[in-house]
């Protein structure tokens, strides 16, 4: 940090790289919403950047760093509380929008959720085939190497999985 204060960019980059995973662990332990963790990590790093002139090299680094972290988490918690006081989180809206492009994102999210729910009813071997071949996009050879099953076996499992999924989705319709 002393070197960073003197303008040593390499040292500063190394320091920030070392701090980022530590921050993630600390913030994950103290923050409910995992989707906001990375935003908070960046917020703390930015706050450290603007406050770096206040660090006294004769004093330990960790208390200085953790004080900034706790302060920014407290600020974020206050912002979240204010936001939650006047916002309601909507469930997924079941309506279809007039413009086709507006539908795509919503419906693709719905499709992904429906697929995840449908996969549950498949046999383990069939589920594995769908995940490897369709969701991960592996070739038959790659999927065979990953699963330890033969190519022919994967083809059969995939065929049966598609039949089962067709029944599930036709039943929903």
């Amino acid at each position: 940090m002393r070197a960073a204060q003197d303008g040593d960019r390499l040292a500063y980059t190394q320091l920030l790289h070392e701090l980022a995973p530590v921050l993630r662990r600390v913030i994950r332990r103290n923050w409910r919403n995992p989707q906001e963790v990375e935003d908070l990590v960046q917020d703390v790093l930015l706050s450290l950047h603007v406050a770096r002139h206040t660090y006294d090299p004769d004093r330990p680094f960790l208390p200085w760093f953790m004080t900034i972290t706790r302060r920014r988490l407290a600020d974020a918690a206050r912002r979240a509380a204010r936001r939650d006081a006047y916002e309601n989180v909507c469930a997924t809206l079941p309506e279809t929008f007039l413009l086709a492009p507006a539908n795509m994102e919503q419906e693709s999210r719905d499709d992904a959720m429906a697929l995840r729910e449908a996969l549950v009813v498949l046999a383990p071997g069939q589920r594995e085939a769908v995940e490897l071949l369709k969701l991960q996009g592996l070739s038959l050879e790659e999927a065979s190497a990953a699963s330890g099953k033969s190519v022919a076996g994967l083809k059969v499992a995939m065929h049966r999985a598609l039949k089962a999924l067709r029944l599930v989705f036709d039943g929903d319709d």
Partner: protein, 228 residues
């Protein structure tokens, strides 16, 4: 923005920074400037006519000393509170002196109220003293807030309260050289009382006046910061 990209942006922006002086030194600097200012103000307004007796009175000296100690320690505490990573106990530095000051005034006021015949204890409004305390305090308060904003107030409510306590206490001590009012009840109400009120005001306005510094990155979008 990805964290990796942010790190590179921050590193690109990492020009050498002027390190903040230790809080003790910054406090001493502010105290020196404020002392010069108050000495000039006292001389300009004029010393109280009975200054010789006042200085010779042990009680007055101790009370003035307690006020001075409160102001000095509150200034130290305010500057420490504007540095992340400092021990939390430093924020309580002025407390013993403040309690002593209040105790002296309260004890003396109680003695005057219960001991003397009622008609000998008179109270009157001392708006002149209140005005002097408020107006005299503006320049040192502005300077102190400007110096504190160079730091990073972690708890701006506490920092703001300590800052105003420092200013108000020093002004109250200086007023003992100007106003010939030594009645403890009067001092308790019209000098100590405003000190407490101004400290509370400082706490209330601390957050908006001592926000978290905004970033001035040369590139990328500016992430919003909160003063909390």
């Amino acid at each position: 923005m990805e964290t990796e990209a942010l790190i590179h942006t921050l590193a690109d922006d990492a020009t050498p920074v002027g390190r903040l002086l230790p809080p003790e030194r910054r406090a001493l600097l502010w105290l020196a400037l404020t002392t010069v200012y108050l000495a000039g103000a006292v001389l300009a307004i004029g010393l109280r006519p009975d200054i010789a007796e006042a200085v010779g009175d042990g009680r007055t000296l101790i009370e003035t000393g307690a006020a001075l100690a409160t102001g000095i320690l509150a200034a130290m505490a305010a500057f420490c509170a504007a540095c992340p990573g400092r021990p939390v106990w430093e924020r309580a530095l002025p407390l013993p002196a403040l309690v002593l000051w209040f105790g002296l005034l309260a004890e003396s006021a109680l003695e005057a109220w219960t001991g003397a015949p009622r008609q000998a204890v008179t109270m009157h409004a001392d708006f002149a003293g209140l005005l002097d305390l408020s107006l005299l305090g503006v320049p040192p308060a502005v300077l102190l807030l400007a110096m504190l904003r160079r730091g990073v107030p972690i708890v701006p409510v506490v920092t703001g309260g300590l800052a105003m306590l420092a200013v108000a206490s020093l002004i109250a001590a200086a007023l003992r050289f100007i106003h010939p009012e030594d009645a403890s009840v009067m001092l308790l109400v019209w000098q100590f009382g405003p000190v407490v009120l101004l400290s509370l005001l400082g706490a209330v306005i601390g957050a908006p006046l001592l926000p978290w510094p905004r970033s001035r990155l040369r590139s990328t979008s500016d992430r919003p910061t909160s003063s909390g």
